[in-house]
Structure formats: structure tokens, C-alpha cells
Symmetry: C3
């Protein structure tokens, strides 16, 4: 039935309106049997860093042949490019604004394209809703194999794609982290990727959040209710949580965070 894979949607369109619904209507108009799956629509408006993390959290788990449309697009109506990125297992359609940064840090982009939307839109798109007028028809036509990227795209150099540097900073005192994303439970996802920094490795790591020192443990239940903890989250980044509580409530959404190895305290 589906000769093509599913088409996943990631946006900051929220749920108050039919913005996502109308995108789906347009997609089904162009490809009636397309399998459309929601990834997330509650990205904080225009928060490309958070979207970049959420996109990465899914990327390794996509079925082969998946198509992902990511529309977090503060530049709608300007001349920013709309691009398609081909990875080994899946294809991404998104504005060229850095939303693919974390994915590009981890996965090889095989080919990249600028979408020539004139090939898709019978009439000029609206100035404020390219999700409906460009992304939806382009995604439907591509995901259902009615069009190829050769037909509606122009090859571009992957090195020309907009990238955001999300790496933490190593200092003499430790790894200075930033928060990429605050999740539904109030867990704070840092930009410290455990595997890249050999965490836990053979060393004893702690996570300093403001003035507090948190142990690096395996899961929530390794701490008593109400106690904070650091752990390696399900996407491989160090996260900060409070057992049965909310780290975002305890520390705010953007506390000062540093990862350190413990040293013997000197007298």
C-alpha cells in the first residue's frame, strides 16, 4: 500500500489552530494514501535550538525510507532557502535555518537540495504560511514519489547549510553546558553528549547546577523523591531531573550548568 515510508511532521504550530490540520489536508489532497505521523507540534515558537534537539532525538529511530517535514520557520516570507537533506535512511525537508544542526553533527548528509517552490506552487504562496503552501505539497509529492528532488530541487553544497554551534565549552574547571530543551516532565536536556565526552567512563562525574552538586546516576529511582539528579538521557545527552518532581521548577529553564569530575577535597 505504502510504497513509500511514513511522513513525519515537526512544527511549532501548536494545537490552538488548524495549522497542522490544514497541512495534512493539503498533503492528502496531493497524496491520498500518504501515512502522516505527528512527531511534535509544541516546539516553543521559533525556538530552533529546541527543535534541533527534538529532531535529533527521533532521527536514529525512524523507519527506513521516512520523510520528515520540520517547520520552525521565523524567516517565513523572507528569502531564506527551503532545503531537502538526504541521509542514508531518511529525508528531511526544512527551512535552512540551523534546525538540522544536531542531526548534521551525527549523520552524514549524502545530498542536499534547495527546493524550487515555483515547480510546486501553481500560484504564489502566501507570505505567512509556507507550511501549507510549499512544505505540505512538496512533502506529499516527494514522500509519495510523484516527484523527485532532481525534478523540484537544485543541488547545493551541504557545507553551505546554515549550522548552529551547539557544542559545550571545555574549560579548566569542567565542561560548561547549556540547556537545549526542557521536556514535559521539567527535565533539562543539556548539550553534553555522554559518548563524546566519555561520560561516565572510568571517572566519577558530578553535575553542578548553580550552587548544587548533583550525582550522575542511572535513573530517577536511584534518588529519593524530591532529590535532584543528573543522568544520561534516552538521546545520549546528560539531563537534569528531580525525582518525582520538576528540575525546571527547581532551577528555571536556563540555569548555569557545569560537568566536573570529582577530585579529593584538599584541607
Amino acid at each position: 500500500m505504502n510504497t513509500s515510508g511514513p511522513c513525519f511532521l515537526l512544527t511549532d504550530f501548536g494545537d490552538r489552530d488548524a495549522y497542522v490540520g490544514v497541512m495534512k489536508a493539503v498533503m492528502l489532497k496531493h497524496a491520498p494514501s500518504l501515512q502522516i505521523v505527528d512527531l511534535c507540534h509544541a516546539i516553543e515558537p521559533q525556538n530552533i535550538v529546541s527543535a534541533s534537539y527534538v529532531l535529533w532525538s527521533v532521527a536514529a529511530h525512524l523507519p527506513e525510507g521516512s520523510f520528515v517535514v520540520a517547520v520552525v520557520d521565523p524567516g517565513v516570507g523572507t528569502k531564506r532557502r527551503i532545503v531537502a537533506l538526504e541521509f542514508a535512511q531518511w529525508t528531511l525537508l526544512a527551512p535552512d535555518n540551523g534546525i538540522a544542526s544536531l542531526v548534521l553533527d551525527h549523520m552524514q548528509c549524502q545530498r542536499s537540495w534547495e527546493i524550487r517552490w515555483e515547480e510546486i506552487c501553481p500560484q504564489p504562496p502566501s507570505a505567512t504560511f509556507h507550511g501549507r503552501d510549499i512544505f505540505a505539497p512538496a512533502a506529499a509529492l516527494l514522500a509519495s514519489k510523484q516527484r523527485t528532488l532532481e525534478q523540484i530541487g537544485r543541488p547545493i553544497d551541504p557545507a553551505s547549510l546554515v549550522r548552529i554551534d551547539l557544542a559545550p565549552v571545555e574549560t579548566a574547571s569542567g565542561i560548561v553546558a547549556r540547556i537545549l530543551h526542557v521536556d514535559r516532565f521539567g527535565n533539562l536536556v543539556t548539550n553534553v553528549e555522554a559518548a563524546r565526552w566519555n561520560i561516565p567512563g572510568s571517572q566519577h562525574w558530578i553535575c553542578c547546577v548553580g550552587d548544587e552538586q548533583l550525582p550522575l546516576v542511572r535513573t530517577y529511582a536511584d534518588r529519593a523523591p524530591g532529590e535532584p539528579l543528573a543522568y544520561i538521557g534516552s538521546s545520549g545527552f546528560v539531563e537534569i531531573a528531580v525525582c518525582n518532581g520538576s528540575a525546571a521548577k527547581r532551577y528555571g529553564n536556563a540555569p548555569s550548568v557545569m560537568l566536573q569530575t570529582t577530585k579529593p577535597t584538599t584541607a
Copy 2:
């Protein structure tokens, strides 16, 4: 596979409960291969005006043969009618409470029906959840072509349908607008339809919100971050926004709004 088109859902049921989920369960019980698509479930409880706008924002983009179920229904359990409206490309099932007003302002209703729910419900429906007990089975049976409106409906005169007058008021000083809908980004959608009022046309329009005068521009990026703007939104109505911000936060959800053409100020 789908001989019929997709079935879209629009409700004020929100996401805290399984109200939408149980509707889908009932629909799939009656029509296992029905393609069900969410339009929006976050309509403010019982806000028929907002629902009317959201429904209109989707109507022109529906695939041919679509079926739409709209349940924003403060009159559940009373004698208000449940009606089906046939348009050229799609069919609407809804309570007869004005939710179709904006659609009816723009699209020709070819035939309309009152649903005889006794034909569908094996036992009396609950007094509080007709979405589950009447709308879901009726929609599933109709959208999957197991029943026709001739079988479960009674023809009614489209002129008898409840309508809400949502048109703006023209005065000597300008067009007095009201807010139909506040979107996820805090944009305020007015009831001033650009095409009907020849906006922009050859005149220079401004939008007065309270004491402020906003220019009518093409898109968000035509203003600096933090600056307010008026523009023609993606559904053809004049909208009010703040570039990279929220008009709802700046002006509240229901400010005084007037559209005016600029005149030379007299000394």
C-alpha cells in the same frame, strides 16, 4: 482502499481526556479502514465563533470527498438539531448552532439534512456526550458510505440553519472589526476579509488598535522585532501581529480595532 475521502475532526474536547480518542474508537468500530485526521481539538470550550473561523480556514483546502465532523456543542442534551451540509467538494456534520456561519458565507450549500439519530443509535444516547454516541457513528457510517444521508437524514431548508452574523460594521470613520480567533502565536484574526473590502486595493490602509496605528504590510519580517503590524493572513482576513512577539500579549484578546484609509492630516 479508501473509496471515500478522509474524515476530519474539529472539536473543543482538548487533550486532557480521551474524548477524542473514544470518538475515534467508535468510528473505527463502525468503519475499520476509515482515514481519520485531526483538524483541531483546542477550540476554547463552547467558542462557536472561533470554531467557525478555524473551520473556514480549512474548508478551501480539503481533498475532494472529505467529510468533516465539527463538535463544539454547548447545547448537547437539548433539542438543538444535528445537521449535515453538503458542499461541492465536502460534507460537514455539526450541531446546528452557527458553527458553519463563515463557511456558509463563502460556499454554496447544495443540500442540508437533519440527522435522525434514532436511525444510528441502538439505544438512547448519553445526555452529555453526543460526540461519542451520535456524531462518531454517524460520521463513520456516512464517510465510509455504509449509509447515505437519504437513509439517516431528513432534508431541511438551508435557510433554516442557525447563522451568526460575523461581518464587520462600516462607519464613517472606517471599518469596525472584531477578533474572531487568537492563534498559537498570539496573532489576532479580525473579521475583515481583505478581498471583500478591496484591501489593499489602491488605497493606503492602516489598522488602529486602541490608540496605536499599525501599517498594513506583507509579512512579519517587514517590521523590526517587537513592532506590531497588520497583514492579510493566510485565510484572507486582516490579522494583527507583533514581529517575533505576541499581539495577544500586547493588546489582549479583544482590543478595539478599526481599519482606515489614511488621509492627509489637517492642521
Copy 3:
């Protein structure tokens, strides 16, 4: 096409992240044509009582052959069991933490199993996201009939399942109720099941909320706007509402509630 029934999802994962989206990606990777349907993802984090009610509100309406995955799982990463419960019409996959309590009060569990996740996971699951690493592949393989419970489960005694006692307490003054769930409209769902307590029966019941006495009526419209009411909700439990308003705003989420039959007041 679907030899199996639909697979329904119920979680407390919310919508801020792609936790549900990545579960769906994993499910479709294992079973590309699986029909996945959202029941609810906005269960208050770790609120097993509310989840138990929401699950029950759907159970009687599921299509035959349905598969339900319910992940509200404060014990993730601990040794709590993951169990599958077979009912006459449907199968439930959930942590063994009481989430099935209300269903088990009403429906006969025919067979129950502990899932041997080692049979499904090629590598050890993460410590914090069993929804993605165990529930999603197990559900996809079972719902699509690629695996049977005999193959990946170990039979257990239904009597060994964790149960939460949610029954109200009968006292000399009346039935002391508790609130199971607060819905999107601010309606308060009590644990008093009308049929079990013969409500309304031939007696005249009132519902005491704090100091107020509410009449037991049929539907919202039986009271004037702003007036509180008690009624038998669509799942068969007594609920408390305010006509065109919110009982949760008026009374809070957990008021003192008692069901009483009226007696002649003595002088």
C-alpha cells in the same frame, strides 16, 4: 490490510517533546502498516488514578481486536513488571502499577502475562524511556501478530496484578466520594459508579460538595448558566459540573464530596 485491530496509545508523555512521536516511529519500523491511534497523552505526570479512569472510559468502546498501550510509569528503570492483559475484546500492555484497576473492576481478564523484554530488545533498554525501547516494539510485534504472548511473555496469575482500591466509602451519612479525574471542561469525575449504587433509582439523590448541595440532574442545560450540578457522566460515574463554567475553578480539583439521599428536614 489490517489483519489486526488498531493500536491505541495512552501516556503521560504530553506534547512538548517527540516522546510519543518516537514511539510511533519505532512501532512503524517494526510494523509498517500498523494503525496507530492516540487516546490521550496529557495524563498528569505519573497520575495512575487519572490514567486508570481514562483507560476505563474508553474500554467499552474499543473495536474488537484492539491493542492498547498505556505508559504512565513512575517506576521506569526499576524492577516493576511490564504486563499484558487479555480481555474478551482487546489486549492491554502496561506497567504493573495499578493503571488497569478500574478496568479489572469491570472486565474479566482472561489471561495475563509478564513481558520478557529480553525477547524483544536486541540490546539493553535505556533506563528512562521504556516507552520507546520496550513498549513500542512489543506492542508493534504483538498487535501486528508477528509475535504472540506465548513467545514473548510468561503467564502470571491475574490475582498477582497490582490493584488500587478506588471504591467510594459508604457511611451512615452517605457515600463519601473522591475525584478520579478532572476533565478539559473542569468537570470533576467522582468514583461513585451510578449503576453500582443504584443512582438515581427510586430515591432522590443530592451531591454535597463542601457546604453546597447540588441537585442530580440529567445534563448541563438542566441548570442555568453558572449553576453547579451533579449528573451521571458518559462513563457511568457521578460527575460535578458548572453549567457553561468550570467546577474545578469553583471547587478546586479535590473538594470534599458526598452523595446523599434527601430526607425530610426535621424541625
